[in-house]
Symmetry: C2
Subunit: 414 residues, 2 copies
Amino acid sequence: MPNGKINAIVGQSGGPTAAINATLAGVIIGASKTEKIEKLYGAFNGVEGILNGRTCDLLELFKTKEDIDLLKQTPAAALGSCRFKLPKLDDPEGVKIYNKIFEYFEKNNIHAFFYIGGNDSMDTVVKLGEYSKKIGYPFYCMGVPKTIDNDLCGTDHTPGFGSSAKYIATTMAEILADCSVYTVKSVTIVEIMGRDAGWLTAASALSSYANGMAPDYIYLPEVDFDMEKFYCDIEKAFEKHPNVVIAVSEGARFANGTYVGEGTQSGAVDNFGHKYLSGTGKALELAVKDKFGCKVRSIELNLPQRCAAHIQSKTDIEESVKIGAAAVSYVFQNSGCMMGFVRSNSERYRVSCKPMLVSEIANKVKEVPAEYINDEGNNVTEACIKYMLPLIQGERKYLINKGLPRYISIKRPE
Amino acid sequence: MPNGKINAIVGQSGGPTAAINATLAGVIIGASKTEKIEKLYGAFNGVEGILNGRTCDLLELFKTKEDIDLLKQTPAAALGSCRFKLPKLDDPEGVKIYNKIFEYFEKNNIHAFFYIGGNDSMDTVVKLGEYSKKIGYPFYCMGVPKTIDNDLCGTDHTPGFGSSAKYIATTMAEILADCSVYTVKSVTIVEIMGRDAGWLTAASALSSYANGMAPDYIYLPEVDFDMEKFYCDIEKAFEKHPNVVIAVSEGARFANGTYVGEGTQSGAVDNFGHKYLSGTGKALELAVKDKFGCKVRSIELNLPQRCAAHIQSKTDIEESVKIGAAAVSYVFQNSGCMMGFVRSNSERYRVSCKPMLVSEIANKVKEVPAEYINDEGNNVTEACIKYMLPLIQGERKYLINKGLPRYISIKRPE
């Protein structure tokens, strides 16, 4: 550790969430409280901002509680994001990139680095840590996870999941209410994000807390999708009520590994020669229409699933701030780690933030476990609901301007 | 008017909104306060419920403030809806239907009828009024409008529009934030409801109150859509920033009257022989991808636009309650009318509820007027924003259960 105070830098990477800025707020709060950090740089568009020197002074920009509160309620990534993957350490061309990064660090007395992002971001943390050792540069780095998908190992759950789950459960409850008003037979298929793990699709089951109504079936990528079974499921549901509502993951796959949505992507073109790219929901919509001839609608929840900040989970946002601040506390003792959540075994929900080895978290997918899926493979269990429910608790109070939640933006250098 | 107290009946009809139950709450409040009404029947699934005798006793069911509050925050139609159109008065077969309805009315001492719905519902109000005169049955009826589309004449705006507009503006602000995080060129196309009028699409402009960002362009059905102009617009936007965001109405049409979305509906089939039914957003997505080769995404806001009760406009809900209660106040003096809103000319936004002639309101479409659309035909004006802004004001406090807004359901007879 160099003598005296050092400077630190933070970046955001990967897809937007409704909570990634809350974690940034946590890092700012943590840095403002520690004696060790003088200045906290914000890198615009992640590593790209370090490479092209586009940064800002976050402790200078966020001096008031109001600005910190605005940051917490701003969706997406206030510093911008990137999908930049660092080259291998032994790549001769890559060395130029690493040199450029560490030149910037040295010039600005930067010896601590925080990266808020998904799997690729953790790869960046590890590589920068290793390179610093190679060149003997005093350097402390920490990854902070964010993904709405909740598919990282090691951590009990991921920051951002709770808010997306709350949005999905609330929207599903509204769709269920909407679909129940008519007496004519109908099937409504709601396609939910999560290519490899079904956590977000599972969250649609929480809709039952609005009014006892939940989707008739929930199909996750963890279970092989079977078309005949699917038709049987719908027939059974029609025996109970005329309006069938289904939640399906965008990642639903047949036993042979093909995605359910792939059928509609294979070669069909319109009269301009455009190839159709449809999704899982649309594919099932067409299949159900063909089989049952009833009214069918598919709904893709799309981007709002990951950026619907107007219905953040208070629990998620508070935890996201906490894990950002904890990253600052742990960075000097646990450099090269990634922060994660540990849930206590007590009956009352409680989590703490702990540094974890990146190897335990990144590059592996945490699927929805078997005990969270019912025997028929078309719904979730009570255990799954018990796991997810605490994560969507609490409503946030927003700073409002003319009927809309206010967002903050960080001014870019010219 | 018969001697003593009479009974009344209320039904809901047409597509769900986030405010139609608030209007039902208003009718219940109004009926509970007037001396003239003894009992308020609720007809399940509109006129269908009268025909098959499926009704409930609303004053008995909604005795507490909490239940009324729950009804206000419940989306869709708590009594269920229908798309039933009454036959013509001189239709010999139709007479059976009218007789059945009025037999039910007479048997239950029902002499007042409230119908909350769209254009077709107003047709029902008029026909029942005329038939009652024909048979000399003392009868008072009143229509109460609801449509998220805001396309009814006579009334300043429609109950339900404000909540949908608030949802669309908020969601658009979130999508704009989401799309701005990357530095690579992209076009995002958001398709918004409104087949014949562009009010809901226009509401996306209100997103600017979150953080100064609004869609680059807003295309309404009121302006002929021109593909070459559209491409030029995108090129111009790319000169300013890499992430272009567009709002387009599902009803956007070319000068020859064909819908923009029709191109992708004309004959293309997938490998199962399914005909593709795409929308305006998808059609433009394919066209932009073809023209610019950049990242393109289309988002269809779909059902949540009309049922997103978790972000109701407080103004809309209060007005929706008020117009329901006003319907009860006016029904005996202004039978056969439809309630509407009149906006005062004062600088401060104020509306009052007035009975209006059905002929002034129904069966005509109120389009977005020319002065609300910019000269280029690709955005809205300040005057349009000034008209819409008061309608989305105010945030509602919700009764919550385990992180979700609670809904109420009205038990159906066996």
